[in-house]
């Protein structure tokens, strides 16, 4: 047990940490949601990850994604892995630099207990739900976190036993509702929170 993991025993019981550590997490998309979700999860003791993103860091990402200016042009999955290992050096990370499609989805996330859908586009979100929705994996989707105002509240909605949708459900990214750090972080944090609760309270049963 490294110093970081030792320090987590201030907050979790040994049996809780054991549950957290053995949970296999998939992060589908390492942008505004994914890059922030995974940091929350690592800080909460999760250790086993499959990180998927085909993209490199761009300057326009830096308003909300967990990357730095001197990382522009580098693979998001590489940069994020390095960063996470600075929090906990004993993580197991499977890096996937690929774009998800109908044809290749069967190759990914098969052994994961929880999949976070953190893509920006609707077809990829649907692909995750249609592919894994009838399995016993826990699926956590981001849905509606753009914009400035909080007229629509970001919250966790349980769709069925193994599916959660987190967001306001309505605010699509567009010219009037740009993706901005405050609401994106709020959504990412609640997605991570839903997973932590599910793992520690055995959901789905």
């Amino acid at each position: 047990m490294n110093d970081f993991e030792q320090a987590l025993t201030n907050y979790f019981l040994p049996e809780q940490l054991a549950k957290i550590e053995k949970t296999k997490i998939g992060i589908a998309g390492c942008g505004g949601l994914g890059s922030n979700i995974v940091v929350c999860l690592v800080r909460s003791g999760f250790k086993n990850f499959e990180l998927m993103d085909f993209d490199v860091v761009e300057t326009k990402n830096l308003n909300r994604q967990y990357y730095y200016l001197d990382e522009v042009g580098q693979s998001k999955v590489d940069v994020l892995s390095t960063r996470l290992l600075k929090i906990n050096p004993d993580l197991k990370i499977k890096k996937v630099k690929a774009q998800l499609s109908d044809e290749n989805i069967a190759s990914y996330f098969q052994d994961r207990d929880i999949i976070f859908e953190a893509f920006d586009n609707v077809p990829s979100k649907k692909l995750i739900m249609e592919t894994f929705g009838n399995t016993n994996k826990l699926l956590i989707f981001g849905c509606g976190m753009a914009g400035i105002t909080n007229q629509s509240e970001i919250k966790i909605k349980k769709i069925k036993n193994n599916i959660y949708m987190v967001g306001d459900g309505v605010t699509c990214v567009g010219p009037e509702n740009p993706p901005l750090a405050p609401r994106v972080f709020a959504c990412a944090s609640l997605m991570a929170s839903a997973a932590l609760e599910a793992v520690l309270y055995n959901i789905p049963a």
Binding site: V122, P123, K125, K126, N134, K160
Partner: protein, 66 residues
């Protein structure tokens, strides 16, 4: 036939495919996933799935951003 759609009980003619039901609704079919009786129905299967009395149908809408 009565169907429970997104929590509301609605009456429809008997013998209705999921595809024809969805096409009659004013919704963006590209932005939804359909669940019937807690089972996700893939889009490719919509035409051959028939709706039956008291089916519980959930139309799950997605919006972009992430």
């Amino acid at each position: 036939m009565k169907l429970i759609i997104n929590g509301k009980i609605l009456t429809y003619p008997a013998s209705l495919s999921l595809q024809s039901y969805l096409e009659q609704q004013n919704i963006d079919l590209e932005a939804i996933v359909v669940e019937i009786n807690e089972k996700i129905i893939k889009r490719i299967d919509w035409p051959r799935v028939n709706l039956n009395e008291f089916d519980v149908v959930e139309l799950i809408s997605f919006v972009g951003g992430g």
